[in-house]
């Protein structure tokens, strides 16, 4: 992948690479051994400290937490996408009265930490007579904070379409609304599906703040469980593994769809040098691990 940086290695370079490989493996093994030793001398490797994670009740409890995470994530994604889509429409509108507030909303929401929003929902809103249920104290702030990201994704999708698409629609006699509905929107949405999935992984990560509002999602369940069985490191490692499994699957899915769309060659990739480059470039760098971007650049070059 990055072999462009090297010449084809000669015998000496190959020998150096082999030596470095061996050294790296040895160092890696030593580090793993040190970690295991650290666990062992603190008595965290004994069978009875791990055995509970082979038992059903423990997993039933964790699956409950997983369910809470899924519920919160789905609600937050749906809400954030809806608001994001609205804001994106506002930002590409021809009317200043639509453009300005949408832009202000996105810019403001982007720079407020999620936790501050959650605290606001927990401690400020009740004072003004709005005491939300636990789930919504988590979901609403996430939806608000992610809606800005979704808005930028949708907008970059719209902007990535060639001007000819809208012009052709106009030439066929479509009004702007029709052109958006039948021509622009369907194409733009397809292009941003991978970015939407990456954002969804981000939302899943956000739901771990359920630990702050005591909503029973995965991390909060883990905290309760660890408090109950005193198996701190085991519990949190299992929790981390579960999050990893979910988000890794999501990011692989995003990458697979992205690769397939590019291969199908139905359209120019969104992040290619075009007016949309900055917008999506920013989103990509902030969210997705874009393994494919460099490969594509190379193919173009």
């Amino acid at each position: 992948m990055t072999s462009v940086l090297f010449d084809v290695p000669g015998p000496r370079a190959r020998r150096r690479t082999r030596i470095a490989t061996v050294v790296a493996i040895v160092v890696g093994l030593v580090l793993v051994a040190l970690a295991v030793r650290q666990f062992a001398i603190n008595g965290e490797l004994t069978a009875e400290r791990w055995a509970p994670y082979g038992s059903w009740p423990m997993w039933r409890y964790l699956l409950g937490g997983l369910g809470g995470t899924a519920l919160a994530a789905v609600l937050a994604v749906v809400l954030a996408m809806a608001v994001g889509l609205l804001a994106a429409f506002g930002r590409i509108s021809r009317l200043f009265v639509c453009r300005a507030p949408s832009r202000a909303y996105v810019e403001v929401v982007r720079i407020i930490p999620l936790l501050l929003l959650i605290y606001f929902a927990m401690f400020a809103l009740p004072r003004y007579g709005l005491d939300l249920p636990l789930l919504w104290k988590l979901v609403l702030p996430i939806a608000v904070s992610r809606s800005a990201q979704f808005a930028e994704i949708f907008r970059s999708g719209f902007r990535s379409l060639e001007a000819g698409q809208g012009e052709a629609a106009a030439a066929l006699g479509m009004r702007p609304a029709q052109s958006m509905r039948y021509v622009i929107f369907p194409q733009a949405i397809r292009r941003v599906v991978p970015a939407l999935i990456s954002q969804t992984a981000g939302v899943v990560k956000d739901t771990s703040l359920g630990i702050v509002v005591s909503y029973a999602e995965l991390l909060q369940s883990g905290k309760v469980l660890a408090g109950y069985n005193r198996l701190l490191i085991q519990t949190y490692l299992v929790i981390a593994l579960l999050y990893f499994a979910i988000n890794y699957a999501l990011s692989r899915l995003a990458r697979a769809i992205d690769a397939r769309q590019r291969q199908a060659g139905r359209f120019e990739p969104v992040s290619s040098p075009s007016p949309a480059r900055r917008g999506l470039g920013r989103i990509r760098s902030a969210t997705a691990t874009s393994d494919d971007a460099p490969r594509r650049d190379r193919a173009r070059a």
Binding site: V4, F6, I111, Y236, A286, A293
Partner: protein, 214 residues
């Protein structure tokens, strides 16, 4: 409006802690990211695998989980430091994966021809990287690095979840005493906005200084 002045200090301390968290985590994250990026582009396969694994591992597990692991779980196996440095380390390791991705995308964004031309001139791997690839790559990623740093600033708020008294937590505590949520939370939001503006301003300034005519 009684009592406001008593809490200015607490608020300011929180803001200072947020700034310190951001600065130390960013510095740490950039150092780690450079190492990880070096691993990811080097010809030694185990190191490449380690780099990839690092990025995947840290990006796919929420920062809150890392913070809880570092603060509450690691002491169990005898690894314990003061709270603030622990929060810095967790944030730095987490954000390093994002910095590393940005760095790598910058390097990969440089045209193949640049490296080929450098090799044709007889430059070795190190020279190619140092004199040809890196100077160009770094210039293209100033803005993305700024964005990741703003993301880091937002993420320092999570340290409140494990008990670090930074801006968000300080706001919360002052609110418990004053019960004036709206001005307090809006004020904290404005502080974050100001810090984010500083970061993006610096990034914009550096970007304009270094912009490459292409």
């Amino acid at each position: 409006m009684t009592g406001w002045t008593d809490f200015v200090g607490e608020f300011a301390e929180g803001a200072l802690n947020t700034v310190l968290l951001t600065v130390f985590s960013a510095l740490g994250a950039i150092v780690v990211a450079v190492v990880i990026t070096a691993f990811r582009i080097c010809p030694v396969r185990p190191l490449r695998a380690f780099g990839t694994g690092y990025v995947e591992l840290f990006q796919n597990i929420p920062l809150a989980v890392w913070l809880v692991l570092f603060v509450f779980a690691l002491p169990v196996v005898g690894i314990q430091f003061a709270l603030f440095p622990t929060a810095v380390v967790a944030t730095a390791l987490y954000m390093a994966s994002y910095y590393a991705e940005t760095l790598r995308s910058g390097i990969n964004g440089i045209g193949t021809g640049q490296a080929e031309a450098a090799r044709a001139l007889g430059l070795g791997f190190g020279q190619t990287l140092r004199c040809v690839i890196l100077p160009q790559a770094l210039r293209t990623i100033v803005q993305p690095l700024g964005n990741v740093t703003i993301q880091l600033l937002m993420n320092t708020a999570l340290a409140a979840a494990v008990g670090v008294i930074e801006l968000t937590e300080a706001t919360n505590r002052v609110n418990l005493a004053l019960a004036e949520p709206l001005p307090l939370y809006v004020g904290a939001g404005v502080c974050y906005a100001a810090l984010a503006l500083i970061i993006s301003g610096v990034a914009g300034l550096v970007d304009r200084k270094l912009v490459l005519p292409r």
